[in-house]
Symmetry: C2
Subunit: 398 residues, 2 copies
Amino acid sequence: MERGRGALGPALELVHTGRAPTRAVLTTELGVTRATAGAVAAELEALGLIQVDPRPVAAGSQGRPSHRLSIAPRGPVVLAAQIHADGYRAALVGLGGRMVATAPGCMDVPADPAHIIDAVVEAGAALLRESGRRCLGAGLAVPSAVAEPEGTALNPLHLSWPVGAPVRELFDEALAKSGVLGPDASPVPGVTGNDVNLAALAEHRHGAGRGARHLLCVATGHRGVGGALVLDGRLHSGSSGLALEVGHLTVNPAGLPCHCGSRGCLDVETDPLAFLTAAGRAPGPAVSLLQQARDLLRSEYDDPSVRAAAELIVDRLGLGLAGLVNILNPDRILLGGLHRELLEADPERLRAVVADRSLWGRSGGVPILPCTLDFNSLIGAAEAAWQPVLDDPLALLG
Amino acid sequence: MERGRGALGPALELVHTGRAPTRAVLTTELGVTRATAGAVAAELEALGLIQVDPRPVAAGSQGRPSHRLSIAPRGPVVLAAQIHADGYRAALVGLGGRMVATAPGCMDVPADPAHIIDAVVEAGAALLRESGRRCLGAGLAVPSAVAEPEGTALNPLHLSWPVGAPVRELFDEALAKSGVLGPDASPVPGVTGNDVNLAALAEHRHGAGRGARHLLCVATGHRGVGGALVLDGRLHSGSSGLALEVGHLTVNPAGLPCHCGSRGCLDVETDPLAFLTAAGRAPGPAVSLLQQARDLLRSEYDDPSVRAAAELIVDRLGLGLAGLVNILNPDRILLGGLHRELLEADPERLRAVVADRSLWGRSGGVPILPCTLDFNSLIGAAEAAWQPVLDDPLALLG
DNA sequence: TGACTTTGTGCCGACGCTAAACAAAATACG
DNA sequence: CGTATTTTGTTTAGCGTCGGCACAAAGTCA
């Protein structure tokens, strides 16, 4: 009796990522009998996580039509929070990566990490009270490497935070303070991570990275370049959370000095500022560097100097990606931020450079694709927050 | 009834790696009850894989003394084979990484991959007939990247083999031909891999890498530099077997041209030839480059020019390792071949360079250690061959 | 020698699954 | 239009694997 406990987590993950639209495919995907799959679905429905729609799914093939499995429309959510250079965002995210509620982005940012984390958690908590939903976890994305197991921010460059700010601790405290409580009045467990890492997780679950075994993501936002690696569905953040700090690969030996002590690093040679400089444009203070670079690329790509600058940056980026391909041998690469724009402006050039400069580029070539969720760190933070539920639904809900 | 089937594989792995000397610690390591651990041990003993020594282990603490668990002395073996620049080696390896029998290394190497693979397998098969042991698998290490899933050698640089030689196919054919047969007269499954990768696996199971979560290995033998990564006990060879081709990291922007098209690659800047050249010695034809470099380092380290050459190579190697640390964030690094000798000659210098040039070197610093099995690819090949048995002992023996 | 501590084993029950038979709901075909 | 076929869902029985528990065994400690 009580069939289907061990398969509960994998089953929920299949529904969550949209790979199990019906109980029939759930059966085959899990490799269990129909009886077990049915029991699993019933259990997940009883937990309020999924919904079995009795209306048969549009048939078209022979046999009895299967009922549709979907995420429960008013099921539990997680609190997702993101802090970036210009402010913060908060949202509630349900299973399936669906945004349930979003707080208006706030732009006046207190410099103190404790205050801004309190503020973003409070914004999320307000959404939560408003919605009346149950909250099963919380995730925070910050633009910095987060050391494991300490949970401290090691390079919050865009935030004027102190190096080593204890972000995980602050997040947990803020969650406890603002009454984001679990069923037994205990604060929900907080997950804190680097924004690019978390965004890569989101792309892997719900975006262009779906189905990749070894997914490499590289993105540039304002300054610097971030990387992330998802191996067999799990974020690889190294033994102390510092993996994929790809910004200091050398891509231009005679290039600009970098704060790391070397020169010509990917960080300073392919970010929006490097592009603007290469195009001979002085960056203005009005909008973000990414926005200025994006505008320039979109509106003046005909201008030879802009085009030449784009090609120069693409060549450098390709060199860096080739180095990463030689080391990591991913089966898919996603680009975000300005790198994505550059890829879309001239996909063939980047692919050719990577194939030419990586050792085994000829033998197939890695697909290089633009991200589809715009490197949404909010959904990524939610994804990380959902992970404990996906791993063992009964532990938090039984 | 028949307790302890699911835990059979993990239990065997614990005994295999020497982490379960008694049933008592097996109980705690597996996280099961004493009853289950006892049943697991009995099952493994019935399969002829391990031995329960009734003589109590030397006590010293209170309570009933535990019986000793050990590898069955005349249990099954795997066939391990290695092909290198100067010839080939074959051996039988039991559980626990113990060499059971070794064929004398052969030095007259036919250029044709099919012939040499036939020869090394036949040497192993002869050992097997001699020993009368049961053979449960076979592994082959080759000095080349092996593409997945094709099983072809992509850069057999030291062997004058054709690029793309189908080594896995040839190995499987040779196994079938030479009568290395399983219980049901089917040929044992062959595993083929890169020698540095397999050696890293051996170091992780039985050498200096034991217990590391993210183990990075770097070694240089004759020409070029090889790398390998073991993540959570599993070899990471990328999506197509080509990961950790670390030889083409740039460590000297103004350095020597490399066949990859760039210049100053780790491959050409830190191998034995680079060291000999930097020391102003012309390489002789008598012994291998590695041997010449090793001799020079050991006997003339007082000579200022030799010392300066060593420091130069160490600095370049440190730069490459720092780059890898930034990307992979391992919790241990092992060095082999000449790199190991250089580390042992001046451990502090290399560690200082890596700490200085990696982003988070200050925050702890990665332990950099010499390998202890001398990067034994034979044991590594055996380790890979044992893996299916460790994963599910009953599948092959039940 | 007797108390205590730790290890090994036999028995039972709970849990989680498969297998198999049956029921239900569509399409395919005469 | 009705029956056969195909596929899906559900019920029941049964079995394998593990935890819990009681008891036995084998040492140390006082």
